[in-house]
Subunit: 328 residues, 2 copies
């Protein structure tokens, strides 16, 4: 099925999103670290979306989507094992809407508690994507709820793109002139949104995606020029196991310079560096940008680079032990 | 030996310290957390000294001490198993001074690496306080280095007190009117400095110390009116195992309302809350203030409370596993 061109967002949708969500989300800090600059040979700024509402940039897209609902919608629904479910639950609670999130039985308890903490209803499904989709279809049919997808959605992409608008504003305030912005890519909501914003506002800033080598469908799609829609992901970066969406690919193809991949060891090492050097508790997916700076150092050396730290939600029981090996 | 009154700092020493160290240390953020406000029933602000130079407020005291050295000093020395050693090494490197830190053989490898990372010389001693002091005495005799003690020192106390001056400035900027400020107490450098600053600048703000029940010499000293100089500490909060200093006690007796104690389980729970709710990687000692708010809730409910987060340096191998139990 070809994409409806009206459903592919434009830069103007990002600008509107910034107005739609103003006052609902935080302007998160843009931090520097002298130690990480010395270690990487680049001049880095970290955009701290782990300090965003619900602990992830996903709050932006969810808030924007709910500001653009069709008339009469009183209930929304999605399926999610991660931050999008919590973000939608949060945004629905802000607007007094009912919300149902289909979560696989394998979802971490902390994620389920987060969704329930925002008063949303959790419906448990089997673990596969087919299980999740069929359970969601049943929910939509029974409740008449409006579906808000996690990334392959014009409103979501536009919302995530507001991160880049904030980065530009804060860079100006700090007297920092970015050469490059690096954002992790899973489904592609963030990267496509950042691409749209930069294409219109700062076309001289290169937009680079970063993804785990164990979930490299976005790189293969962009470099090969054909959208790959299946993969068997194998990575600790649970937020990046999803496959690039169609609308996301369409935008990325027009606005993103390249996508680089990083190793699993590189992700863990970058996460450890972020924890110990910046004292910021970021989740594995959020460390993929710094991992890219380190593993592709020639590309970033002596450049002014913004790295998006995407979220800070994780099961400390599972992630903590990964850090226990000696520092490299 | 009675204290020399000239060696007990006054509020003016804190004001001078702020000028002495301006430009050398960070103005660290004063953060809020809606979730922790709801959980505690208090209106909290967290002063983020784990984001200070060397990852702890100790940078302030060390920077101030080295701005007030006697003429002709070219080398400084101390003994430390913790953040003071790194802070002194950092401050000495800033001023081009040689620095030796006596560290017990039991000191964590990460702390030793931090000191060496600032180009200081590490001399290893036996683990007891007597071992450390005799090794330092030998170093002082052999090198002629000037000793900078970790807390029982006028310049150090004055430097740590600059935290409170920043808190007052930032509170004004945020439209926040503190009723109470809570600071952890070990040797008492921070708490006495904060007491001095508040006594002069904001005498209506209560200053409360917080310490582990397993190292409660400061509470027993203040409540009993007699300075207790020995204890067998037993606490995970390694930064607070030291015994209250004489100059520190003299200041605390005049400027601090009370000292409360917290349980070990309370410290771990508060650290877990800070990690998961604020995404800030603080060390166990830094969680003692929030633990006090939770364990003495009647005292803080509906109050505007500043909590000093003192540092973020720890051995993740040892501290991580403590967080793995289910959240209470």
């Amino acid at each position: 099925m070809p994409l409806d061109r009206n459903e592919i967002p434009a830069s103007e949708d990002v600008f509107s999103a910034a107005q739609n969500i103003a006052g609902m989300v935080h302007e998160t800090p843009l931090l520097s670290s002298r130690q990480l600059n010395e270690l990487t040979g680049a001049n880095l700024r970290f955009k701290c979306e782990h300090l965003q509402k619900v602990g992830a940039f996903k709050a932006r897209g969810a808030a924007n989507a709910l500001s653009l609902l069709p008339d009469g919608v009183e209930e929304v629904a999605t399926h999610s094992s991660g931050n999008h479910g919590a973000a939608l639950a949060w945004a629905a609670a802000q607007r007094g809407l009912a919300c149902t999130v289909v979560m696989p039985e394998t979802a971490p308890k902390t994620k389920r508690m987060a969704v329930e903490g925002y008063s949303a209803k959790v419906v448990t499904s089997g673990p596969s994507l087919a299980d999740r989709e069929s359970t969601l279809a049943k929910v939509l049919e029974e409740t008449g709820a409006h579906e808000v997808p996690p990334y392959d959605d014009k409103r979501i992409i536009a919302g995530q793109g507001t991160v880049a608008m904030e980065v530009l504003k804060q860079s100006r305030e700090q007297g920092f002139a970015p050469d490059v912005i690096v954002a992790p890519v899973g489904g592609g909501g963030l990267l496509s949104g950042v691409g749209l914003a930069m294409a219109a506002l700062a076309p001289d800033i290169l937009v680079i995606g970063a993804e785990p080598a164990g979930a490299d469908d976005a790189q293969r799609s962009l470099r090969g020029g054909v959208h790959i829609t299946t993969q068997q992901p194998d990575t600790i970066a649970d937020g990046l196991r999803t496959t690039l969406g169609g609308k996301n690919y369409a935008v990325i193809e027009r606005t993103v310079r390249d996508i680089v991949t990083v190793s699993e060891a590189g992700i863990v090492n970058a996460m450890r560096l972020l924890w110990t050097r910046t004292k910021q508790l970021v989740e594995p997916s959020a460390a993929v940008g710094l991992a890219a700076i380190i593993e592709h150092s020639a590309r970033f050396r002596n450049k002014n680079v913004v790295v998006v730290l995407t979220g800070g939600n994780m099961d400390l029981d599972k992630v903590g032990p990964l850090l226990s090996s000696e520092e490299n």
